[in-house]
């Protein structure tokens, strides 16, 4: 245990985000929307600073009692650091790509970066939480910011609808989690993960089991796993594309990291109770995500189903319920974030002659002839999402399935990987439209110039290089970091 001042030192990143967020809020109030660019830059700088704060904990593989703050409410170990770095990267990417999108419709408001900062703060708390109470606070802080972000284009009907849907269903999910937490607390007598795990060891009371199921169901909502996935396509489609980029990456990382902490930490002594649920949810997500995507004509909806599909693969790592599985999930998450960012940045770069965003897949026909670089990047993302080597997306599936096989879940691995072929079909469809079809001439030819366009290209280049075969050179390093993080997750003090 640590005293109060040490606790405060452990949450330095969160404090920084809070202070910067509040100061920027004041700036926004006084300076108005014309300061939005400045505020964005400061927000990016704050996230970079937070990354530097979090990195040492990960590289040093820190864990144990000296990383626990506020009497077990909070843990700043290597595991949370890994998740935080991914969240910061996603946050930075979605801040960089925002101005051009919102600027076109005159909606680049100063609140956008601030809301992203607060959402990131909430996610920081989610991944560091080792107590149901701090978990819930983080979850809600993130969700509230996210609801506003989803409906950020106030005048756009789809955006407003997305925000409302997200809010109603998100609130329901929060209620379910809260109910599950209360039951768990009632039957175990504690909200602390370690204490809950201790109390649940041995025979499991029915009430505690119900609590566990409700908590997991609520979390399944947050990670958009089947059968709690319905909101995802609508929200992804309706939300402004930079916000969708954010939703597809950072909250996914946070919610999955949180699910790992809860399942492997708080309920870690009752693996048998939840393993079959996770197995079902993962296979259902893979299949439904793949089948649902086939009929989509909007690229954002397609990527939404793709994210459901990917969550299914991630949960295979959780179903393994081993340290190797946890490490595999983290590797997969890192690759997934890069793939999603690359995919959405390509979507953001697709403009028609009047500068309107292009979202219909049919409008991308023949893109390889008008915008070859963009087309190849999109193809790389699609093949990577489909898990075809030598693209890096394959490595994510590789480690996850290897973990499942090593945990004696051979049947699960075989069914899961066979179902991944269904997913390959719609990824191929996108490649087919982009490469094989005659040009539809909707997307404007020639790339734009200017700082914002350059920023898009830089983000896309970094993400594309990561998912290219060159990414394999990073595997030892990435695997090492993920192992450290997973070891911290499994650390029993």
């Amino acid at each position: 245990m640590t005293d109060f001042s040490q606790s405060l030192a452990l949450i330095a990143a969160e404090e920084l985000l809070t202070v910067v967020g509040l100061v920027l809020l004041l700036c926004a109030a006084w300076m108005g929307d014309k300061a939005s660019r400045l505020i964005s830059i400061v927000a990016v700088a704050a996230l970079v600073a937070c990354a530097f704060i979090a990195a040492p904990a990960l590289c040093g593989g820190l864990m144990g009692p000296e990383r626990v703050a506020f009497s077990g409410q909070y843990t700043a170990d290597a595991f949370s650091a890994f998740a935080k770095l991914l969240i910061y990267a996603s946050g930075i990417a979605s801040l960089i790509v925002a101005p051009r999108f919102f600027g076109r419709v005159g909606a680049m408001r100063a609140e956008y970066p601030i809301l992203v900062l607060f959402a990131v703060l909430g996610m920081n708390m989610m991944v560091s939480a080792t107590d149901f109470l701090s978990l819930y606070i983080g979850l809600e802080l993130n969700s509230l910011a996210a609801y506003v972000l989803a409906s950020f284009l106030r005048t756009d009907e789809r955006s407003a609808e997305a925000g409302l849907k997200y809010f109603v269903l998100g609130a329901l999910a929060s209620g379910i989690i809260l109910f599950g937490m209360s039951l768990t607390y009632g039957f175990t007598g504690s909200t602390n993960f370690a204490a809950v795990a201790l109390a649940m060891d041995g025979t499991l009371a029915t009430g505690a089991l119900v609590g566990l199921i409700f908590v997991l169901a609520g979390l399944a909502f947050k990670i958009s796993a089947v059968p709690f996935h319905m909101w995802t396509p609508d929200v992804y489609e309706g939300a402004p594309t930079p916000v969708t980029t954010f939703f597809a990456t950072a909250p996914k990382v946070a919610a999955l990291a949180l699910t790992m902490r809860v399942a492997l930490g708080a309920f870690g002594t009752q693996v048998d109770a939840w393993q079959q649920i996770v197995i079902f949810v993962s296979l259902a997500s893979i299949v439904v995500g793949a089948l649902g995507a086939i009929g989509q004509s909007n690229i954002k909806r397609l990527l939404a189903y793709s994210s459901i599909n990917n969550v299914g693969f991630l949960l295979i790592g959780l179903a393994a319920a081993t340290q190797e599985g946890a490490s595999a999930m983290l590797v997969y998450l890192a690759i997934y974030v890069a793939m999603s960012v690359a995919g959405f940045v390509v979507v953001l770069m697709l403009r028609d002659a009047e500068g309107r965003p292009v979202e219909a897949i049919a409008d991308m026909a023949g893109l390889s002839r008008t915008r070859p670089a963009l087309a190849w990047a999109l193809a790389a993302v699609m093949f990577s999402l489909a898990g075809i080597p030598p693209l890096f997306g394959f490595w994510g599936k590789f480690v996850v399935f290897q973990a499942a096989v090593n945990a004696d879940l051979v049947a699960l691995a075989a069914i899961g990987i066979a179902a991944s072929v269904i997913g390959a079909f719609y990824y191929l469809k996108v490649v087919k439209i982009v490469f094989f079809d005659e040009p539809a001439n909707v997307v404007a030819e020639g790339s734009e110039s200017g700082v914002d366009a350059l920023a898009h290209k830089v983000v896309l280049l970094i993400a594309s290089l990561f998912i290219s075969p060159l990414g394999y050179l990073l595997t030892p390093w990435l695997g090492d970091l993920a192992d450290k993080a997973a070891a911290a997750l499994y650390f029993v003090g």
Binding site: S368, R369, F383, I388, P389, P390, F394, F398, V399, F401, Q402, V405, N406, V410, A413, A414, I417, A418, S420, V421, A424, F425, L428, V431, K432, F435, F436, Y472, L473, T475, P476, L478, G479, D480
Partner: protein, 515 residues
């Protein structure tokens, strides 16, 4: 050559070429591709020349721990050497075949082919299980693009079918690989080849690998992607598909299924035999009624690969050697036949057999080459096809006379459909004026046909050159399989030695008495 990373260099040359091709105009891209493939061919010749026959089982070994979970390990034995030679030999010919016929997006086309070459060499040279898998699977992407962008009218359907069929086959193999690596604790292929997996698990592992290789091979009833892919692919794409990609299936059996799971191979050989017997007869009959030249040759490929499958599971040296020679020979011959089809397709833009006729009159040189390759496909003595098919069926006969009998039927039917094809295309009346007006081979086509013809004859007359590097490896594999090999049904009944001696005695006495 010690320590010089020649295999890595062979992987790198086409890769660099591919990267350059993306950014240069059409004519430069063609030159870059030709130079890159010729350099790789030269490196291949150096590789063959410096391969120490009778030396270490694995040569030119390279190893670098670049990745987590698996290593960058390359190395070849004689079997891999021969298949690499086949790949690098066919590649410049493919580039030549696309020289004039591909006019749109030339840079990307050449890049896709060069990537393909890297991946093919990688498949045969990989010494790490997962590295092999990556190369094996990665080939799908360029091939999908080649069929889909530069293919015929029905290219979209064919490209999907090719991709999804092959992918379904392969993914289960990956799960089996995980299990093997967990059991054996290594990803090193040579070590795994000598590992004895528990007999109970072998059947499952074998089936998972079989799913992948059977699709790739392709075996009946999962062969249906092949005619579509072949017909729709551009000529060079067909050459590479038939010439090298199908060999990955056979290579998989000889490198993984047989040495790693000998017991399962023996237990489940009947599956292979049944599927191969059906394939030989069924696809040969289908080939007989085709109107499309490429489709006919595609079906003949399935039939030939079925002979390869039978021979692989004959568990004796003849069969294994025969299957390797059939694979090499089929790589050359079917590649050459697709090329021959491509030559006249470039002139008349149809693959319909009826649109040709009497080509021997206006294209005598072309008809000569076409005849040679037709005969090689049938298995005429003196051509490569004979050596392979003879050895294969001799091997198969030792294990099952029935399978050999049905397999031989395929050869007879093969003669029927190939000769029928040749008669309709090259002989008879010149019933179509446009076909009759086609000019004979030009220099570029000569340059593509001549090396293929020379190789076919070389392999037919002196197969020892090709068998020698593989001999020790096949011997090793035969030893490895010896314990599991099932007893054959076709042993000659040995005459009773006593009776023979008695008989000889009587004869001797009779002879002696006569003097």
């Amino acid at each position: 050559m010690d320590g010089f990373p020649i295999l890595s260099l062979m992987l790198l040359v086409p890769l660099v070429g591919a990267a350059i091709c993306f950014f240069v105009p059409a004519q430069t891209a063609r030159m870059v591709a030709l130079v890159a493939t010729l350099v790789d061919l030269a490196l291949g010749v150096v590789l063959w020349a410096s391969f120490d026959i009778g030396g270490a089982q694995w040569q030119f070994v390279e190893r670098a721990e670049l990745f987590a979970g698996f290593s960058y390990a390359l190395g070849i034995d004689g079997i891999a050497l021969m298949l690499i030679m086949l790949s690098v030999f066919l590649m410049p010919i493919c580039i030549g075949a696309s020289w004039n016929s591909v006019t749109k997006r030339v840079g990307e086309y050449m890049a896709a082919f060069l990537m393909m070459e890297t991946l093919m060499i990688g498949v045969f040279a990989a010494q790490d299980l997962f590295l092999f898998y990556i190369f094996f699977e990665a080939g799908l992407i360029p091939m999908y693009l080649i069929i889909g962008i530069w293919g015929g009218d029905n290219r979209i359907y064919a490209s999907y079918k090719f991709f999804l069929y092959t992918l379904i086959g392969s993914v289960l193999m990956l799960i089996a690989m995980f299990w093997m690596v967990r059991e054996a604790g290594t990803t090193d292929i040579p070590t795994l080849m000598a590992t004895d997996f528990p007999a109970g698990a072998q059947n499952w592992l074998w089936l998972a690998f079989f799913a992948s290789f059977a699709v790739k091979m392709p075996m009946w009833p999962v062969h249906t992607w092949l005619p579509d892919a072949h017909v729709q692919a551009p000529t060079a794409g067909s050459v590479i598909l038939a010439g090298v990609l199908l060999k990955m299936g056979g290579y998989g059996f000889i490198r993984f299924s047989l040495p790693m799971f000998p017991e399962a191979s023996a237990n489940l050989a009947w599956v292979v035999f049944t599927m191969s017997m059906i394939a030989v007869v069924y696809t040969s009959l289908v080939a007989l009624v085709q109107h499309d030249m490429k489709k006919l040759i595609a079906y003949s490929s399935v039939a030939h690969m079925a002979i390869v499958c039978m021979a692989l599971f004959s568990f004796n040296v003849q069969g294994l050697e025969g299957s390797m020679i059939v694979m090499l020979s089929h790589g050359l011959v079917s590649g050459a036949l697709f090329l021959a089809v491509g030559v006249i397709y470039d002139r008349l833009h149809t693959r319909e057999i009826d649109r040709y006729g009497g080509l021997a009159i206006n294209m005598p040189k072309y008809s000569l080459f076409f005849l040679l390759f037709t005969m090689a496909s049938i298995g005429l003595p003196g051509t490569s096809g004979f050596v392979g098919e003879f050895l294969s069926l001799a091997g198969v006969y030792q294990i099952s006379s029935w399978v050999a009998l049905i397999g031989t039927t395929g050869i007879i039917l093969g003669a029927a459909y190939m000769l029928y094809l040749y008669r309709r295309v090259a002989f008879g009346d010149q019933k179509n004026a446009d076909a009759a007006a086609m000019p004979d081979l030009d220099k570029r086509e000569w340059a593509m046909m001549l090396p293929l013809a020379a190789a076919v004859l070389w392999m037919g007359v002196y197969p020892e050159s090709f068998l020698a590097p593989m001999r020790a490896d096949i011997e090793w594999l035969d030893q490895r399989l010896a314990a599991a090999a099932p007893a054959g049904d076709a042993h000659l009944s040995e005459p009773n030695p006593e009776a023979v001696a008695e008989h000889h005695g009587e004869e001797a006495a009779a002879e002696g008495g006569s003097y």
